[in-house]
């Protein structure tokens, strides 16, 4: 039997809530899947849709975006702005055929270490089931090949 597929997942999180929640998962010694790589931003308001596209270009099989619950933003409104952008960008991804199962959004507070760990596990498992993002990988491979017609 072949090795189980280990998805590559990139997470963009705000430092005040989800990053702190991830730290709490650590201090609570919760165990979760090691497939996710975290990029820390000051606020979800700083998370640009471009980051998601670049993570996919880097070969990510899945992307997570997470920040403070509505009303809890350290910067008062950053997550409200982020939420609108996500709504729009998500619809756009869906329309261009990027499966929404591969780009997930969540609110995880600094107190939700457990939610963070569970989320990492469930997303990793979901994407493992979906398998590698072959279609996007095809595009990446094309960029590395010599010019065709």
């Amino acid at each position: 039997m072949s090795e189980p597929f280990e998805p590559k997942i990139v997470a963009f999180v705000c430092t005040y809530c989800t990053y702190a929640g991830a730290d709490l998962a650590g201090t609570s010694r919760l165990k979760y899947a090691p497939n996710v790589r975290i990029v820390r931003l000051p606020c979800t308001g700083r998370i640009s849709p471009m980051f998601i596209l670049k993570a996919l270009q880097k070969g990510a099989d899945g992307v997570l975006v997470s920040g403070c619950h509505p009303g809890d933003c350290h910067f008062t409104h950053g997550n409200y702005h982020a939420r609108r952008r996500w709504t729009v960008f998500r619809a756009l991804l869906e329309f261009t055929g990027i499966p929404l199962e591969r780009v997930k959004f969540s609110w995880i507070s600094a107190a939700e270490g457990g939610k963070f760990a569970d989320f990492m596990n469930s997303v990793t498992e979901d994407i493992r089931k979906l398998g590698p993002f072959d279609q996007y990988q095809g595009l990446i491979n094309e960029t590395e090949a010599p010019a065709t017609l």
């Binding site: 880097k58 960029t143 590395e144 010599p146 010019a147 017609l149």
Partner: protein, 337 residues
């Protein structure tokens, strides 16, 4: 007496050439857009297209071409060159203007530096041109002193017979003769009349235009601003042009490795001449349009003794604001030199 290729033999020809290792390319219409694309059988061709939307240029000078790969190591950077492709191809059904465009650009790509990517592809590609029996309102080859049956840049010229029956074959170069040896037994001898060529009216007096352009006083003429006022600075005329050849280099990659690419660029773009300082010597769209015309009909012929235009008319045909070389040169024709 001439040799004839009948349409119903084309399928066999394609099969022969493919068997001989040639990629067969021809005018193809897919859904909403036409281009020169790979065909597998005669039915894939669409000879009814007056002119494919995209010119033949991209087959020799692709819109993006990886030149070199690089890997960043601890101490140094390792590079690996991408070799020019060695694929042998035959383009069956090129238009005269497109084939001429290639010949126009040959001196450019071989001038101070021989562009291997261009010439490798040129050498490995047989161009079989079909003379035009149809033209549209935008065709203007005759204004450029070319014709629907110009042989410039072609290896073989085919003249259509009446009723799409086939073509009269005129082998022009050794490369063409070589390719047609493969199908020699599929050709007939005959003395049929070719269908009448498309009538392409002459739209402007090229000599008068060139004279006006060469007069240095006209460089600062208000004409340029007037004629280009509606230009929106998109690059579609340059990108569709069979002779426009400007390019830019771009490194793409991640932290560890990447590829240096040669990408099409356009003098219509405001960033084309932008200096690092922020100064832009061609800061207005009129200056950029002037550059395009001057380059094609003054600077380029000054260097290579040929105008950088083959009269395909794509610039006007696809222009979102109905501009183009025709209108500009028509207007110049009426000006005092």
């Amino acid at each position: 007496m001439t040799r004839i290729l009948l349409s119903d033999k084309l399928d066999n020809c394609v099969a022969r050439w493919r068997k001989a290792g040639l990629t067969v390319i021809g005018p193809v219409k897919k859904e909403t857009s036409s281009s020169y694309a790979t065909v597998e059988k005669a039915a894939d061709f669409d000879f009814g297209i007056v002119l494919p939307d995209r010119s033949i240029k991209g087959l020799f000078f692709p819109q993006t071409e990886p030149m070199m790969g690089y890997t960043i190591k601890k101490q140094d950077i390792a590079t690996n060159d991408f070799a020019p492709p060695t694929e042998k191809r035959i383009i069956f059904g090129a238009r005269s203007c497109d084939a001429s465009g290639l010949a126009i650009d040959d001196p450019l790509f071989g001038w101070d530096y021989k562009d291997d990517f261009w010439f490798q592809r040129r050498n490995e590609t047989v161009i079989v041109t079909i003379a035009c029996t149809k033209a549209d309102d935008f065709c203007m080859c005759t204004s450029l002193k070319l014709a629907p049956d110009s042989t410039k840049g072609s290896d073989v010229l085919l003249r259509p017979l009446q009723n799409n029956k086939g073509w009269l074959v005129e082998e022009l170069t050794d490369r063409g003769r070589e390719a047609f040896k493969e199908i020699a037994d599929l050709l007939l001898d005959g003395s049929e009349q070719a269908a009448p060529l498309a009538v392409v009216p002459e739209k402007f007096n090229l000599d008068a235009c060139v004279a006006w352009l060469k007069n240095p006083e006209n460089f600062d003429s208000t004409f340029w601003k007037e004629i280009s006022m509606r230009c929106i600075g998109c690059g579609s005329c340059t990108f569709l042009c069979p002779t426009c050849h400007c390019f830019d280099f771009q490194d793409e990659g991640d932290t560890y490795s990447g590829i240096r690419r040669k990408n099409w660029d356009s003098c219509s773009f405001s960033l084309f001449t932008m200096h690092t300082s922020g100064h832009n010597p061609r800061s207005t769209q009129s200056a950029r349009w002037r550059q395009r015309i001057m380059h094609k009909f003054n600077y380029f012929p000054g260097k290579f003794s040929v105008n950088s235009c083959s009269g395909c008319g794509r610039c006007t045909r696809q222009c979102p604001v109905d501009m183009g070389i025709t209108e500009t040169l028509q207007a110049i024709s009426t000006l005092k030199p």
